[in-house]
Symmetry: C2
DNA sequence: TCAAAAGTGTTCTTATTACACCCATGG
DNA sequence: CCATGGGTGTAATAAGAACACTTTTGA
């Protein structure tokens, strides 16, 4: 077994991409690193996997330690392993993603994470390590997964309007959707329960409130479905904020 | 950096799930292990990643070293990392999958791989390590990916009949498909070129031969599509060969 | 009375399903 | 002449796309 010793000098980490939705905006939870490397930089909440710890368990533990979030369902997305991605040595990282209700959780950053904060996904850039790339891969995964299973239960408050749900889909898919077709489709799925309540205190006609039917939701999670609506015109793509010139010339 | 030393005692490997198609049967390439652990057992072709080697590069190298296969496009699927999956220590493995034309390649097993051989996927069981689980995950990925992008160029001979293509889809999806609907759909995609040739020497009406239009094929690979045809009755599920009793009682 | 967002239906087009018989060849 | 797999069409249904005006509320 001597001949293999040289291989046992590497480490692995897990990194978590936690998506939330708030104020019509898709967000991702980042920590400000409290230690080297990349001290003081924003990064995905991640850390080394313990020698006697399964990968999935490590992802859960690390998330809780860094942000205080517990009982979050995490799904493995992809492993990143270029040679020099970590200054301390050979470290590959397994990326996980999840969706949570922002208002539902209190974020409590640990000392390793000096701060933990939600960032609008469009504004994130210049993260530590290769975390920009990891975030992009997980966002793409989210976009895909939205087409074949329900999303929203994890991201919206318990009572929500159809417009809020539509805005969530639009934020994830980075498109505009037709209001009537969206409603027709989502209502025909028998996934929403009409609460017979309406918004209050809004300066316009108050919207009906809905909640998800948990049984149907679970069922769709297990079986999948096909949610495709032709995209309207594309929203501005992620990243790279436009200059004023570009905005002007894009008319 | 001392505090991190304990993390740098792990290793990682890559494992390749190579699918092929032959005699109407979906196959997977396995090696017979020539060294410990699991010496003499069938396993996926995989090995340790070198300290200075990117993951994707390692997958390519390992595949070539063990089987002689070169220039195979490999796609990362999932990472497996339970604590005791490898008897030598903490080793996580990154699984890759690919599709190739069996007849197109000559398999040349290395000394580490005493043999390399194609196995019908339904008959594979009892592989080394957690490779049964890895194979299953990759097979599921293949099933999924078949619905959103073309498959066959990598698995079929340059000239093939529509029935052969249909059998390929049926083998992957483990279903039966309606002949007329399959043909209508696949032909309407403008993906196949009719060669104006027919089979020879078959004891029935000879079938027309087709080839893929490489341009369209690339285009679909890049953009994806939606290939869904309602499944006929399910074929027997993978694994667990039926006993005679079960066969008898299933009438 | 105005601004702002909610809510609502129909027509057109396209895709999917279900389904059964004749054809060409080799043995 | 028979066994084998090749090849073909249509009608019914379902799903998706396009599209504009009225309603309700608070300010």
């Amino acid at each position: 077994m001597n001949e293999f010793n040289e291989y046992f000098k590497s480490a692995f980490t897990v990194d978590n991409v936690i998506f939330g939705f708030d104020e019509g905006d898709l967000k991702v939870l980042l920590i400000k690193r409290g230690e080297e490397p990349y001290q003081g930089k924003w990064a995905l909440p991640g850390y080394f996997v313990y020698p006697n710890e399964d990968l999935d368990a490590a992802a859960k533990r690390v998330l809780e330690e860094l942000t205080g979030l517990r009982n979050v369902y995490l799904e493995q997305v992809k492993t990143f392993g270029t040679v020099n991605r970590h200054p301390f040595g050979r470290v590959i990282t397994v990326a996980y993603f999840s969706l949570i209700k922002i208002s539902h959780y209190t974020i409590q950053p640990s000392s390793i994470a000096r701060k933990a904060k939600w960032h609008s996904i469009a504004e994130v850039d210049g993260l530590a390590f290769d975390h920009d790339e990891i975030l992009e891969a997980c966002f793409n995964r989210l976009k895909w997964s939205v087409r074949s299973r329900p999303v929203g239960f994890e991201l919206l408050p318990p009572k929500f309007t159809l417009t809020e749900l539509q805005h969530l889909y639009e934020a994830i898919l980075e498109t505009d959707l037709d209001k009537r077709n969206f409603r027709k489709k989502i209502l025909s799925m028998d996934l929403l329960i009409d609460l017979d309540e309406t918004q209050e205190g809004v300066a316009h006609r108050p919207a009906r409130l809905y909640r998800f039917d948990p049984k149907r939701y679970e069922q769709f999670l297990a079986e999948g479905f096909n949610f495709e609506l032709k995209e309207g015109k594309k929203k501005e793509p992620l990243k790279k904020k436009q200059t004023k010139e570009e905005v002007a010339s894009s008319n």
